[in-house]
Structures are given as C-alpha cells and as structure tokens.
Subunit: 301 residues, 2 copies
C-alpha cells in the first residue's frame, strides 16, 4: 500500500511553480497577479485568505486582498468585478465565499470572466471542462488529477466510482475522468487523465456497496466520516479521500481530530494506493489555485 502523499506532492509542485515564475521574472516579464475579494470579517474566511496570499507569495505570485465591509451593495461588488475583468494586469481573481445574505452569490460568480476565474466555478469553465476545451478547473478535481498523475496511476479503461455529485468536486471530477485524455495548456504539467468508465453515486444510490466492489478507483467526496469501509472495496483498489470531517476526540489537543470519508484503518490494507486525511487531497487544492493563476497568466499573454 502506497500513501498518496499530498503534502509532499504539493511541495514539489510549488517548487516547480516558483522556479518557473523566477525564470519569467528574470527574463523581464512581470509576475503573475491574483486578486482575492473578501467581503466582511468572517474569521474563517480571513484565515483562508491569509493562507492563500502566503502560498502565492512563496512562489512569486503577487496576491492582494480586495476587502469590502459587509455593508457593500451587490451593485458595488459587481462594479468591482467588472473592473477586475477589464484590468489587463490582473491575471485572475477569486471571490471568497460565503458572501453576506443580501448578495446573490450566483449573480456574482456568473459575472466573473471565465478567463480570470481561477476557482473554476463559472458555468463557462464547468462547460468548457465538460466539452474538453481549455479551461480553469476547480481546485479539488484539478488537485486529484495531479495527484493521480504524479503517482503514475492510469485511468484509461478503469472503472472509477465517484461518491458525491457536488458542483465543485463530483461533477467536474466525473467529466475529467470520462473524457478523451488531453494535455493541459503549454508549460503546465502534462497530466493526462481520462478514458475511464465513470459511475457517479450519491445519497440516493441504492447499491453503493456492489458498485464500489466493481471499482478500480474510488473517489469519495460525500462529507460523511467512515462511509467507505473494508467490505466495500476489493484488493488493489485506489482510494482518494476528499472528505474533511471533524470528530470529537478528548485525547486531541483541540478536542477534535480530522478524518476523511474513508474508514482508513480497515480500508488502507486492501489498497494499492490511498490518500490520507489530513495530508492527501487537502494540500493539493491550494496548489491548484497557484496552477490556475499561472495558467491564466500564460493564457493572457
């Protein structure tokens, strides 16, 4: 059993990105630039934004917080989105969610120019991903694709079961896996992935165990601790665990510990590869943001 070490893989990719940006800057080009729109003072959001800015700075991406008080109107925010779309020096930007209740998140996200949508959440990018056109892919599916590729895991002809049908994980993941393989844009890692037979399962699925038993690769993104157990997988399966769940643990310093959707102790011994939680998919998602920002930068030239 081999651990899909997201922490190590993410560090490797960050070093590659830093090297590439350093070379670009040395050749006289400006650094890629990312904007992070933050409305209000939600402490969790503040932390996420700070972490993203730190990760960007470490690889040489200029990242800046674009802050609004939570009294900002939807119209003001949309005006700023328009300005960001029009600014040729802003390669990409994200709008940190959640937004205050008086602002329609759908309207905001649909106003983002897909070429700058480095979170990969606009209908345009989702549609382009489905059609196999160059696109900015949302963080988790992109990170999983990269993780599988770095460990040399082939998907062609394999039966991949995706548990969860969310707009940001399950659906784009399924579309990436089922399509004819293609290479990423120039200068990005050539992480071909596709040609898989894909089954998407979810809360309404009636025979999850049987379906999982026929899988070569299982990607679990259900947000349900212990969902995947040893009796549901066959020997040699590849398991990617997207879940991040807090469960109470009196022995832990913070009173809880993080677990995935997989019953790791029982499932891991049967796997050829398995991603741990924490340290698996999680660290890959912030790397996806860096990759998307670099891709948007390259694309805008």
């Amino acid at each position: 059993m081999v651990l899909l070490d997201g922490k190590y893989t993410a560090a490797t990719i960050r070093a590659e990105i830093a090297e590439r940006i350093a070379a670009l800057v040395q050749s006289g080009r400006r650094a890629p630039r990312l904007g992070i729109v933050l409305v209000g003072h939600n402490p969790a959001s503040e932390t996420y934004v700070a972490n993203k800015i730190k990760a960007c700075n470490e690889v040489g991406i200029t990242a800046e917080k674009i802050a609004f008080e939570d009294t900002v109107s939807e119209a003001e925010l949309l005006a700023r989105i328009d300005a960001l779309n029009a600014d040729p020096t802003m390669d990409g930007y994200i709008v940190q969610l959640p937004l205050p209740a008086h602002i329609d998140e759908g309207r905001i996200s649909q106003a983002i120019d897909w070429r700058k949508d480095v979170d990969g959440l606009t209908p345009q990018n989702i549609g382009r991903t489905a059609l196999g056109l160059p696109s900015l892919i949302s963080a988790t599916p992109r990170g999983i694709r990269e993780l599988l590729a770095r460990y040399g895991i082939q998907t062609a002809g394999k039966h991949v079961v995706v548990i969860g049908r969310s707009n940001i994980v399950g659906k784009p993941m399924a579309m990436l896996l089922m399509q004819r393989p293609y290479l990423s844009l120039p200068n990005m890692t050539a992480s071909a992935l596709g040609d898989a037979t894909v089954t998407v399962c979810h809360s309404k699925t009636q025979n999850l165990r049987d379906i999982c038993l026929s899988a070569d690769i299982i990607i679990v993104a259900a947000g349900q601790p212990g969902l995947l157990t040893a009796d549901m997988v066959r020997d040699g399966v590849v398991v990617v665990d997207v879940g991040i769940n807090r469960i109470e643990d009196a022995a832990a310093a913070r009173g809880y510990r993080l677990v995935g959707d997989v019953d790791f102790p029982s499932v891991a011994p049967k796997c050829s590869f398995i991603s741990p939680v924490p340290g698996g998919v999680g660290p890959m998602t912030i790397v996806s943001l860096l990759q998307n920002t670099l891709q948007a930068y390259e694309h805008s030239r």
Copy 2:
C-alpha cells in the same frame, strides 16, 4: 413490453406548444421567432433546415433561414452572430453544421449568446446544465428526458448506464440524470428527472456487459448497430436507443434501412420499455428545438 413511441409523444407535445403559442398571440403578444443560419448548399443541411422551418411553422413559431454562400468569411459570420445576439425580436437561433473548413466551428458556437442558444451547445449552457441552473438543453438529452417523463419512468435511485460520451448526448444526459431533480422553467412541462446513479461507458470501457447487466435503464448513443444484445440486459430493463444507423438491405426500397444501436428483436422481449428506431428518440429531438425556442422566448420577456 411497452414501446416508447416518440412519434406519438412528439405529436402530442407539438399540439401543446401550438395551443400555447396560439393563446399568446391571441393575447396580443408576438409569436416566438427562430433564426436558422445556413452556410452553403449542402443538400442534407438544406433538407434539415427545411424540416425545422416546417416544424416551427406548424406550431406558430416564426422561423427564417439566414443564408450565406460558402465563400462567407468567419468575420462576416461572426458579425451576423453579434447582430443576432443584439436583436431583441430574435428569441433564439441555430447555426446549421457542418460549416465550411475555413470557418472555426468552435469559435462560431462560442460566440452565440447562451440565452439564444436553442441548440444548447455553448459552454455556458453545458455548464449551466451541469450546475443545475436554468439552461437550454441540447436536443437529444432534452428529448429523452421528456420521453421518459411522459411514460412516467422514474430515475431516482435507479442505476442508469449511458453508452457514449459525446458532447451533445452522453455528457449532458449524464449530468441531467445525476443531479437533484428540478422542474423546467415556468410554462414548460414539469419533467423532473434526476437522482439517478449514473455510469458513463464508451469505447474504452472494458466490462460493458457486466455494467449493463446491473442497469435499470440503458441509454445507448454509440453509433454502432447491434451493440446492445439480449445477453447484456436483465429482465425489466428500460432501453433508450439513440443510434440511427443505415444498413444495407436489398429488400428495402432505398437499398438500406435504419437501425439503432440495440439488437431490437432479441432485446425488446426482456424490456419493460424500449424506444424503437425509427420513431423513438428521433422525433423527440425536433420537438426539443421547439421547446427551447419557446423557453428562450418566455425567458426574454
């Protein structure tokens, strides 16, 4: 075994649309208007366009051919697309494919305003369909959804196997089937469909027979006559055959006959429902165009 009679169902829906448009016009509103862009004189395309115009006229949709010689430049065509996008009296339009080799079909289709994209082929509409947002759905998946709904076939919790991963059938069909059910826009038939466990198979799938044997519903869109045989289906299965293949037949008046992707004589006796070819999915696709045009018209008000 019940035949999914697309010819009858399509006629029923056409009558409903005609009634609805007559009521709108009687209340003083203008009729919905569809443009059909045709480049050159491909005889098959001429026939398709004539049939679409006839179908529109029969239900009260004003349809007009917008014809170009095949010497038209891409820039001229794009300028006309822009004009169609801007014309508030043009509810929707389609660009008949194929286009001459000197014109980039992708560039043309990506220029179409998704709100007028009644073929449902733009990245925006594909993405909106994936995200569960109101969208114009491409003709074949929309027609299949309608056909299943009209026969009261439930998909929730069912295992649906889609064979084929094309951008116009397999992928959008899978997305419609897997998502949380939703109702169409106001005044359209409430054809909820979703909550299915969906497997997408294709030419690289290794164990097609086993997968099909676990299916409650099989939708075949592979373009391969006789692909689905009796040994691949269990009793009571629902089969939707999207294939339209010409095979030589000396006894037929034209020297060929049309068959689907299903070996109908052997499969049909095992089915609870099956769509024939011809007369199954085919007649539903042109009805989808009429429904999408009406939807675009309602939406633009």
